[in-house]
Symmetry: C2
Subunit: 148 residues, 2 copies
Amino acid sequence: MNNNSVTHEEMLGHILGSTGKLLRARFDQRLSDEKIGVNSMQAIALLHIIVNNGDCNQQQVADCLHQDKTMITRIIDSLEKGKFVRREIDSADRRQKLLQVTSLGRKLHETVNQVAQEIEKEALKNIGQQELLTCYQVLEKVRNNLSP
Amino acid sequence: MNNNSVTHEEMLGHILGSTGKLLRARFDQRLSDEKIGVNSMQAIALLHIIVNNGDCNQQQVADCLHQDKTMITRIIDSLEKGKFVRREIDSADRRQKLLQVTSLGRKLHETVNQVAQEIEKEALKNIGQQELLTCYQVLEKVRNNLSP
DNA sequence: TTCGTATAGTTTCATATGCAACTATTGGAA
DNA sequence: TTCCAATAGTTGCATATGAAACTATACGAA
């Protein structure tokens, strides 16, 4: 049996998942050690809200971050509790809640971004721009291939 | 603000994790639909046991699969319950349990491998060998950069 | 021999997760 | 207008997960 080949065939999902887990664990560790007040998922949601400030609802965050909307409810709960974002009911469609970042949220993001960049720098040591780009493209293709 | 750049900086762990999750969900769905009798993690552990038949303990499986040993105990429990593997106490060191695949386990692996290859084929559509190799290498480097 | 420390594996417990059911609202069709 | 199906968000519940405590065994040092 060609073990390496079989292993690779069977392992792609596992390699991606466990490497991602490792990265997120490192990120969460730093965020927790430095008492920054959010975890990695909350930080990523906050970034999305900043980029689309006042113009995105929770479902859009869920779709974009590939998370269950239940999860997003809970993430926004904690971000709102920390006064980093506000939920505003959309007057044009009262089912939706539009998300707005606060100045405290922007300040938090700067701190979080600092930590994120340090970790990425460590994680991407000795990896060339072109290699990394190829890797992102492959991941993007995989995602598209599997999306319905 | 350069949104794209910031997004990428902060997102690598998330992209890896969620793409891995998507792949494993697809795999688990097939394994469940076709009543194959194991889930993706169990299948991956089984592969490792086949490759190192009779010559690996649970801790080695944990290290290799980057999983908590608690998880491995549970995975081996179910594999043993299904009569796919056996635990044998190592007579040279009675703390260890050496793992051995059964013929039923080998049979199961063939079925699982079939499904895995179909999913990988779908996931890797339109991705060149070289690109894929680069992607694996980047992931390997990331893992090494973060390992203590 | 008798400790003390280290390691393999299991169990316990508290937390994280996500599906499914629920509420509130919309918008189109009868 | 009055339904009815669809959508946004929340909540309840059952399962998955992993850290820490625990058991059993090994092994080197006093």
